[in-house]
Amino acid sequence: MVRLALGYVRSRAVAEEVAQEAWLGMLRGLDGFEGRASLRTWLFQIVVNRAISAGRREHRYVPVDDRDLEDDDGAFGQDGWWTTPPVHWADRAVDRIAARDVADRIRELISRLPPGQRQVVTLRDVEGLASSEVCLVLGITEANQRVLLHRARSRIRALLEREVMT
C-alpha cells in the first residue's frame, strides 16, 4: 500500500501516513464498500483516493518523462524484423526470478518508472489485481492500461536480462 501511495506523493513519510489512513478509514467504514468490487480492489481504491488528495494538498505529483519504447522492446529494421535478435535466456531465468537480490532491483526500478507505469505494474504484477480491477482503481481505460503495462514490463525485462546474463 505504501508502494502504491508513493505513486502519488513524493515523500515516504506521507505515503506511510496515507496507507495508515486508508487502513483506519477501512476499519471505520466498511459500509462504504457496498459489495461492488472485490475487497482488495476496494482497499486499493481507498489508498489511491487518499493518496491523490494528499498529493494535491502537497502539490507533489511529479511526472517523469518517458523514454522511447523501442529501446526496450528490441531492435527492428525498417522492414519490421529483428536486426539484433534477442539473446535467448528465458529457459535459464528460473533460478533468478525468485532471487531476493533480483526482487530488490526490480522494486528499485519500479520506483523509478513514470507514475502511470509504476501504478499499473504495481497493481497488476506485484499485487496481482485483474486488468478490470486496475482500470477501476486508477480510472483509466483497458487500452491505456495495457500500454502502460507493456512499457513497464519491457523495462523490467531488460533489467532481468542483465540479471540472468551476468
Binding site: 500500500m1 505504501v2 508502494r3 477501512m26 476499519l27 466498511l30 464498500f33 459489495g35 475487497l39 482497499l43 522492446d73 528490441g74 527492428f76 522492414d79 519490421g80 524484423w81 529483428w82 535478435p85 534477442p86 535467448h88 535466456w89 528465458a90 529457459d91 531465468a93 533468478r96 526470478i97 525468485a98 533480483v102 526482487a103 526490480i106 522494486r107 519500479i110 505494474v121 504495481t122 504484477d125 506485484v126 499485487e127 496481482g128 486488468s131 483497458e142 495495457r146 503495462l149 507493456h150 514490463r153 519491457s154 523490467i156 525485462r157 532481468l160 536480462e161
Partner: protein, 88 residues
Amino acid sequence: MRRRPAPSGHDMTCRQAVALVTDYLDGALTGEQAALFRAHLAECPHCTEHLAQIQATVAAVGYVGAEDLDPPAWADLIDLYRRWRAGT
C-alpha cells in the same frame, strides 16, 4: 464459399508481434489478431523467446511484493470482511 487461407508467420512482422505481447497475454486481441500472432510465433523463435522473457518478467515481478501486508493483518481484514458480508 472459400475458406480464408490460414495466416502465415509472415503476415505479421516481429516489431508488430512484440508490440502485441501484452495484449496477447491479456486476451485482448481479436480472434484474427490472435491467429496472426500465433502463426508468427510458430515460425519465429526470436519472438517466441521474447514472449517467454516477458512471461519470466511477470513471474519475477510477482516475487517483489507480498511483504508489506503481513499475514495477520490480512487475516484480520478478511475476517472483518466476512463478518460484514454476513451482516453481523
